[in-house]
């Protein structure tokens, strides 16, 4: 299997695209944002909320990891994801615009909204997403000034998966890209 190469520039480029695409969704009608494509499936807004919830578990971990990383003295280098972490990341990453395999979401990551959301509540959900993923972006940028390639972060599901910080960024980004595909699928099935 070819190596999974990680660079902060690649992550920033993809994250900018992701945030722009999610930002454009805010223009959609309430019904498109809040209608699930089928019973028990998530609406677009629930997918966005899920991304926010999932990232929330990483905020403190990332801040702590960056705080303990020393200042960078060498050039930014390409990092190769380790075997187990590569498997986890690739499981999230969409391949040729498709989600690779579907998986059951743990209860703690489930989005819960009341019925009949107001525009204000919808705006709040987008603001929360923007705030959190801007944190991810700033963390990737801050990581460029630090030696982060050996700073460990445990995943939100516990120490069964432990990332180096750039692997963690890659996982979070790939997870968000996976759900962006799901959003597109949802919108396609509604139209």
């Amino acid at each position: 299997m070819p190596p999974l190469l990680i660079t902060s520039e690649n992550q920033i480029q993809r994250l900018n695209l992701l945030m722009k695409t999610i930002g454009q969704l805010q223009e959609l009608d309430i019904s498109k944002l809040t209608t699930p494509p089928k019973p028990k499936a998530w609406s677009v807004l629930e997918i966005i909320e899920h991304l926010s919830i999932a990232y929330t578990f990483y905020v403190e971990k990332i801040d702590a990891a960056l705080a303990k990383s020393p200042e960078r003295t060498t050039e930014n280098e390409v990092l190769k994801a380790r075997a187990w972490q590569k498997l986890i990341i690739k499981g999230q990453r969409p391949k040729e615009g498709k989600r690779q395999w579907k998986m059951k979401t743990l209860q703690k990551f489930e989005p819960i909204f009341s019925n009949n959301l107001s525009q204000e509540q919808i705006n709040e959900a987008f603001e929360k997403f923007n705030h959190l993923y801007d944190h991810l972006k700033q963390s990737i940028l801050n990581g460029r000034q630090k030696e982060v390639s050996k700073t460990k972060v445990s995943s939100a599901i516990g120490p069964i998966v432990t990332f180096y910080l750039p692997e963690c960024f890659e996982f979070l980004l790939s997870h968000a890209e996976r759900h962006l595909v799901q959003i597109q699928e949802t919108l396609d099935s509604l139209s």
Binding site: L5, E9, I12, Q13, L15, N16, Q145
Partner: protein, 194 residues
Amino acid sequence: MEDVTYQKLKAFFPQVHLGAVEESKFRSLWVLKSFNRSELITEAGTTERYFYFVLEGVQALYILNEKGEKVVLGFSYSGSPSGVFDSFMYKTPSFTFLEALKPSKMLAINWENYQSLFELYPDFQTWGHHFFRDILIGRLYREVELLTLSAEERYIQFMQRCPKELRVIPQKYLASYLNMQPETFSRLRKSTHY
């Protein structure tokens, strides 16, 4: 802006002759910006907000290829312009990154103020004609070099005209700019005289 800094900026616009009041206005449009080494001045996916004039440091303009590797398109350095011009002019998201390879100080002018120069002062039309002509011809020469010269010839041509500041940046950037492997660049550096 200090006088010595302003003189550097003024020298970049040799076709422009302004009166005292106009000069004061022109001077006020520029903002000093500082960047750390490795800091991304402009990110791919965002829109370039400024046209820069470089006071200190070296910056690389690059695009990421399919493998995520940096492909260097050009450099800017003391006394040269900088920025992602296509994104700046068209106000569209940039395909390229602009990164400070060395700690950098740059004067920046935003799009509205940059445009106002051309509308208010006819000399900037002349400057713009010369500036974009030189850029166009420079890019044309570079294309000819990349398509017709051997790696060794490209290396020699580049090193003969390259400012000293560029010789101390990491070799991988120079190698990428010259479309060769870092190992090839390193070998040429050891074996070639220019």
